[in-house]
Symmetry: C2
Subunit: 155 residues, 2 copies
DNA sequence: CACAGATGGTTCGCCGCGCAACTACCTCCC
DNA sequence: GGGAGGTAGTTGCGCGGCGAACCATCTGTG
């Protein structure tokens, strides 16, 4: 009668455990094989997938669930590493783009291969192809429900 | 050719976004309605579900994907708040139990209700009952694959 | 055109985690 | 039973994120 054992609590627990364990492994692997923190990878790949290889700071923050302040620092580090540059936004002088440098593009392209291997090894190899599609569909429902607006990003 | 658009990358992205957005909402809600950080909730509920309302530090660390050092600090705070006490382990003098105090048990029992409402609102209401079971099954596969050994905890 | 409120980004102070080093203890094996 | 190596837990340190306050700019309203 507690509710301590409620199935929904367990479901949340499974999500938490899957996520944290997976994230740990992917981060370790990426750091080892591409010398790139997973957070950097996530930022760079968002940029790489965007038109012109650039994105407004606020859009990037929304997509990565980083706060504006956290994103500012993260971009600072990427700029210091020469992978990203800040470009002023011509139509809104408050705004700024984060834009991939050629070095940044090289770096992310070189990292994708190893990363995919890690994803396959630690994640998708646990699931058949149709299960992967099921999981994607279910997670998309959850994502759209809890964070509507993150879906509407593609240019 | 890029692989930047690989479905598996997207699947990882969905997992990340679902998790982070959900965690943010659940944490906010729990803090508001039960004045309890989500991490505290997770620790307390693990203890509440364990025989004798206590667990070895290392077991708790393994279950919560916290490092031993992180767990030590977290338990420090829970002890300071009077929700948990440390008990020496009679059979292994290196070891220690984290054990719920009566106040801790009250606190977690009072928090479960509101938390379940948040979970329902932000998470499970996006899915039909059979979809919830599907998702649980898929995540369990992933969890067992990436973190085998986390499964074998129940006393 | 002026001013009020909203919005994009950055900066500052604080907190919490992980890693590595350390201590205490246990266990295995000779 | 004694020493080597492993395991449980804690501590020192640095990194990195968040929230709040802040500045600059935009937008709407009279």
């Amino acid at each position: 009668m507690d509710g301590l054992q409620d199935d929904r609590i367990t479901l949340v627990g499974l999500l938490v455990e899957s996520y944290t364990a997976l994230r740990t492994e992917l981060d370790r692997g990426l750091e080892r094989d591409a010398d790139l923190p997973l957070l950097w990878f996530e930022l760079l790949i968002r940029l790489a997938r965007s038109p012109g290889h650039q994105l407004r700071m606020s859009d990037l923050a929304a997509q990565t669930s980083l706060t504006p302040s956290g994103l500012t620092r993260a971009i600072d580090r990427l700029v210091a590493a020469g992978l990203v540059e800040r470009l002023p936004c011509p139509s809104d002088r408050r705004g700024a783009f984060a834009s991939l440098t050629p070095a940044g593009l090289d770096r992310i392209e070189a990292a994708v291969g190893p990363h995919l291997q890690h994803v396959e090894r630690y994640f998708t190899s646990a699931l058949a192809a149709d299960e992967q599609r099921q999981l994607a569909a279910l997670l998309r429902k959850v994502r759209d429900h809890v964070n509507p607006g993150a879906a509407a990003v593609p240019g």
